[in-house]
Symmetry: C3
Subunit: 633 residues, 3 copies
């Protein structure tokens, strides 16, 4: 498949007279796709029930006439002000009980039935009007579910819906009491209507309560999205997608993605480095203008899995943004690098956010491809350069990677509910493992937790999977490759209970965790093979073969068959070493890359990306900072 | 008296069939006492007014048949969910006005009359049923008053009760206005019903207002506990106790303790190091798996005073806990060390929390003596070792210590209300002074603020007593030993007013504080005798003999008769030096101990405890980490 | 004009019998003015409508008889408790929606019409009684507007008033929607009554919304003050002033000051160092007992501008205060230094806060000139010393400074609403620039943003003026001196919009900002002339002459005519260098001062102040710490 470039455009922000020139300039820059509509409810339906499609018809006309393919978004992330008069209780409440009011976006509770009906109504109206329009080649539902911490709502609507969900899930209060262990602290309920949300308790709520609230909240997002998808499907055959966010773990993207045709995500490498990455000041300084070298790739691989192979970048940072604590500009070349990296990971389309920087409202300091005065911003030339390179390039087809990593949103919720150590975080751990493999030059596939078959992968990484699904346990039973599992793997039964037999209870491995320890920053345990464990360590008991120990000789890594269990969180050196050894054993080649260099293999090429601020040498050639290179495999 | 071991047990968490084996294993481990019942209201009274004692009768039967002595707890820390329907306004409000809801524990306001009546009702019911049961050898009221910051409630019930309390205390609004100085900022009240709680004011409230609210809140705890004690006394002759918490200063434990027969407390050395100790990272790293070497001993001595000599450890940490920011495991041997240390300080019983780790609910990551699969956790063997050693040991009787420290909860409230320096904290200061004495190998007795007689102590430590009680002033008048007093001593009259004549106004000492300074971290003043003062310094004026000065020659320590006044917060080196000199003058022998080693004298023995991570030599023998040794005195 | 000393006095805090002696001691110390009354509403009007003037008549009598001149304050910062019964909704709400209740001071919302009427009523009553009293030589309105973050209120009263204000400002919802760019995110309003306050939105509100709320909130302060001034003017010819606070930027002091005759402010050098100054630990340690060497002077110059030349210090710190995180005592001599510094900057009167330290209520730990026992505190002798020196000194008349700095409260609001970098703060930047000039020994005048004429200044500093007013743009057009402008200058059109043509769009300068970057701490760009830019940098495009570049040769400072534009935030070294060069070019002499030494020129003298903790040499003489020296010019 030929890869393509796109851009996010807001015709409603500009005079109509400017649209044709904008469209022509997009085409001239090599852009072939344009996303529109996702925040324009107020113009589509200026009063309840009175629709105005004229402007949108004309915008689609101008863009279509220029040859641009259109992605049309449902505008349900930005209900107009009149919606509040119809549904004063549609707002989410935050965990402190405060309403999250009108005046920005995403001001709705996923559980509010009245708002859900309104969202269905506008979706239906748009689908009827544009569902068969050939210029609209894809639909986007809503915008960035979960952004601004909007999945968990503590509203009356959420309370009522949670009770219903629990009633479905447990059937009787007694069953729920047993499952949650409510005998502890006399917390038993006599009816579902007595159950509140797990906020504002005197001390921590029952982890089963908090975990079920997270499962419920994720399910509400899935249902809200499915409602839109079901309506759209009745009116269009175009693929449907959603634009996910970075490091958003409050809902199960695999479950949302199962209803969609394509995954997409919004990639802001520099913003994410500043506002959602645990890293020391040196690392943040080194990658200030490039973004973390593994953060984008991890999301690319994750959303490729969520999209079952089909995925886009819907919003690509083209310059400084406005919303991170600090907002430096990309190093020259990074816009091109990020775009090529997405393609190398299999993206079908990379769309830039946004065409022209807005001179007003919240994102006026967010760069576009054009400045507010319509002159070119620095990102435009890099976009055009990629367009030229794409045209000259053979097709970039993804290939199966030699290494897999299993990712589970439920594990993120489990450890968020019960971190046991103040800095224990599932995503953080996954990124460490992923980085360890990437530093060896490896390409990686991400698998959902219910993956039934690991057989095609020789090395599988499974950090911190709170509960191994039956299919995963079956896949591990007699696994012929090498699986690196742990810590905290299979540590939870249903409802966050501790299982007996004790964890990890892996197939064919005689091993019990008899004690766990969370370790404060600076406290580490040396691993006998090199490196340390940090953040977390477990005390292992059983007959499994001991591979590595701590300084006192206590086991930290054990093996049985194809499974290695790690009773701790290895540091970067140990992760590199362990993954390298697993690969060597399984005949997978690894590299020793200079810092900041990353590789990615497609079906036909090996790509190299220099994220570092200094030139590096790769296969004999010098790659400057922000340099991209490729060769045939 | 022969010391004994106990354990906290929750028969309601386990199948009845397992009870006999549990009881037998307790006895086999040398455990003779078992606490039960304190969270089981939901099972005792599953519906309002319908009691189910069967399960508890049977549990007492099984435990009693095994020869275990039972401590029975009233379950008022965990009212069942139906209680909320009867008393929707029984919840405390936090200082931001948010209700502290159902879903964990301690969800009640001490001032709510309706809930107090319910608590009386269940106490009466339990007392009637088990008050004369010989197997129940002690009663515990409620559980950990104040835990999770539950003493201060900002509810309507608390407001009403506070007004009543003020009316009793001051008799007229005018008297209150005068006492509080309400002429300042036009804050005068015309009636008690105009007075609110001291939260959510525009800037800080009147310190008199905030201080009286703290006195009131403490009195509500005392009254709530006394209500239970009065009921129990009508039905039982068994001793009554409560399990206090660590570093809990929001209510006056001496006042609660006056109504009880025995004090007990819940000792979590590693959790407390992590979540309630000011110390630098080195100290926290050094003692990560042992706990602070003085924190337990200070509480042992404090609660021995609260119990007027009789005290227990009701909950002893037996392994990693779940509730601190980080939760490492104890160094092997520490469970034994902590237990012996408690006995050396006079504990009658040390009970471990808990028998078997729960596989569900909030504390499922809290270690027990058994793992959830009933196998032995590491703590069990150490408990059994202590049981064996106890059996072989002659009686461990406490002895009067040579040094006393006066402790006053009101001083903690005064400085919490008016710290004047952001890091000034009463408990923190007391722990520094206590540590200074302990580092010299001294045993210490703690005295309540109303102690009338210091005569048996040769050295008395009195840091930061905001208001010296008349009895203390009388005791200091002509005191024949050496009292180290200050800083901020006797600095407050009633209602937080500054007294005239100016502080400290000590008997026989011509001294006025003309200026006080709080010092930010890193700012110190050298003491002419060695070491520095930090956090706080005072400017001293008067004819008292100058002992030490700052670098400029201004007095910092002065003397008159048996009293030394310290116009600052001495650092560790200065405290050791000053206490050593006082002891030398009074003929008390001191030691120079290696870091981490602590001593404690009983009537017959000297005990040594190595809290440090390295071996140390004590009187010629090598003590390993977590080592305990003793010799006859 | 002969300068004078004053003091703040609270006769209502002390027995009447003590008043005569207090007055006599004030006079003996050289104090000639006394401020009274500003917190005494509760005594003036003990019940609604019942006035008691007797005590105040007698206090004025005693003070007047002693020869003291009286400043009388309206007591509207401290409405009595009964006011709440009449106006339960008069309280401000904080940004989290919590009422800011009774129990301290400033518990009112500026927008509450009912309270405004009450404030008018008490002002009228006081003005009628004392307006023609010759002993009252000046009036103070209210007290410290904005202190304790009291300008922004999120109450229903504020909401209603904000809607009215917007309706006046924009005339139609459509005009507002266009101005704010509400088409973005479907935020348009159909009526003014739909508009809420910009708090508790899901993510950040529209910056136009937040900025207009700040303009509105400032206007409410202006209106509240004007209401009092209008009443007072009808009854008195005495000058009217207000006592502003330090680093209070939430309302436009130029606008409030336009209605007043004199500006005054409350100077707490040590408190401000501790609680409202960005500085590293070394700086804070060095100036711990002196205060920052430029903070007071900046406010002196600012409030001289606000007072159009006439200004006082109404509250001068005389010793340790109670309200900062840490409260050390001034170095001996600092009370004298601060007082002389104020006079050297043109203060007519310096009044100390307060006469005698209160033994009760919130400020009992706040030093006065007397201790609570009426003995002299250390500050008294220094005050008396200044009184003596003043008497011996010729008049201290202010002179026009050679350098001006333009200060704009709206710029502070713009960058508070849209910092773009987490540590970007307008005041912080202004203080850096001001410090740069002061370190060169310069005296500085501050100009309001609407200054129409810069012609008398040879060097003008203009950092971060979000929107250059038309008059300022005219003044810059062909400016004959040297203006240092930027960064972020003229970056905003009305309603926070980005202007097209792009910023800075300065007269005669061909320059566009094509990209801006906020930089995290530790990230800097070297300036080719020396030093670095930090916090902020811009990418400059255009034909203006390039003066300095970054390491890569990209322009950072450009020039056209008399204007230099700085595309970044220069560090201290660069600021000194740039200002020195501008002065040299314009024939203004600069000095190289030792650290901590500051100069100030009056019409007749040059003053030197040693803020540092070590002696320094100035013009051949040694100045000790806290030393003050002067010589004729
Ligand atoms: Zn977003
Ligand atoms: Zn507790
Ligand atoms: Zn103030």
């Amino acid at each position: 498949m030929k890869r393509s470039l796109g851009v996010c455009y807001y015709p409603e922000h500009w005079p109509e007279a400017q649209w044709p020139e904008d469209a022509a300039r997009m085409v001239a820059a090599g852009i072939s796709r344009v996303r529109i509509g996702e925040f324009a409810w107020g113009l589509m339906e200026p009063e309840p029930g009175r629709f105005d499609w004229g402007w949108l018809d004309r915008a689609i006309g101008v863009l279509g006439d220029a040859g641009l393919e259109i992605i049309l978004g449902t505008p349900t992330a930005t209900p107009p002000r009149w919606m509040l008069d119809r549904h004063p209780d549609m707002l989410a409440l935050d965990s402190q009980g405060r309403p999250r009011g009108f005046g920005s976006r995403r001001h709705y509770c996923f559980s509010h039935a009245g708002y859900r009906a309104e969202a269905a109504r506008i979706t239906e109206a748009m689908a009827r009007r544009y569902g068969r329009d050939a210029r609209v080649i894809a639909w986007q539902t809503d915008n960035e579910y979960g952004c601004h911490d909007t999945v968990l709502s503590y509203s009356p609507a959420a309370t009522a819906a949670f009770r219903d969900w629990l009633a479905q899930e447990y059937q009787s209060p007694d069953a729920l009491n047993r499952a949650w262990g409510n005998v502890f602290w006399s917390m038993a309920y006599d009816s579902f209507d007595q159950i509140g949300l797990p906020n504002l308790t005197v001390t921590e709520p029952n982890p089963a309560h908090a975990f079920d609230f997270r499962r419920f909240s994720s399910a509400q997002v899935v249902a809200f999205n499915r409602m839109q998808v079901d309506i759209l499907r009745r009116h269009t055959d175009a693929p449907i997608l959603h634009n996910y966010m970075g490091r958003e773990l409050a809902y199960d993207h695999f479950a949302v993605g199962a209803d969609l045709d394509i995954a997409s995500w919004d990639s802001y490498p520099i913003g994410f480095l500043s506002d959602r990455l645990e890293a020391d000041a040196d690392h943040k300084r080194r990658y200030l203008r490039q973004g973390d070298p593994d953060m984008q790739a991890l999301h690319h691989d994750l959303y490729r899995a969520v999209g079952r192979g089909r995925w886009w970048v819907m919003e690509q940072q083209p310059g400084p943004v406005n919303w991170a604590p600090w907002n430096p500009a990309p190093l020259p070349g990074m816009v091109r690098l990020w775009t090529w990296e997405a393609f190398a990971h299999g993206a079908e389309t990379v769309a830039f956010f946004r065409w022209r920087q807005a001179p007003f409202a919240q994102e006026q300091m967010h760069a576009g491809l054009l400045l507010p005065d319509s002159s070119a911003a620095p990102g435009l030339a890099e976009a055009a350069q990629v367009a030229g390179e794409l045209a000259a390039m053979p097709d970039v087809a993804p290939a199966r990677a030699p290494v897999a990593l299993v990712f589970d949103y439920e594990a993120a919720w489990a450890w968020a509910v019960q971190p046991q150590g103040a800095d224990f975080d599932y995503f953080r751990m996954v990124l460490c493992w992923y980085r360890g493999a990437r530093e060896l030059g490896l390409s990686i596939d991400i698998l959902p937790p219910h993956a039934a078959d690991l057989g095609d992968y020789r090395v599988v990484l499974m950090p911190g999977l709170a509960r191994l699904r039956p299919s995963a346990l079956r896949a591990l039973d007699g696994f012929g490759g090498r699986a690196l599992i742990g810590p905290r793997s299979n540590a939870k039964a249903d409802a966050m209970a501790t299982p007996v037999p004790l964890p990890p209870n892996l197939p064919g491995m005689d091993l019990r965790i008899t004690q766990v320890e969370s370790l404060p920053p600076g406290m580490t345990e040396p691993l006998s093979g090199g490196g340390h464990v940090l953040h977390w360590r477990e005390h292992l008991q059983g007959d499994a073969e001991v591979l590595e120990t701590d300084a006192a000789g206590a086991p930290l890594i054990v093996r049985a068959g194809g499974l290695d269990y790690l009773g701790g969180w290895p540091d970067a050196a140990a992760l590199r070493r362990l993954i390298r050894a697993a690969c060597a054993q399984q005949g997978i080649e690894t590299e020793s890359l200079p810092e900041g260099l990353r590789l990615r293999d497609t079906a036909t090429h090996r790509f190299a990306f220099n994220y570092g601020p200094d030139p590096v040498v790769w296969e004999g050639r010098s790659l400057p900072p922000a340099g991209v290179a490729w060769r045939a495999r």
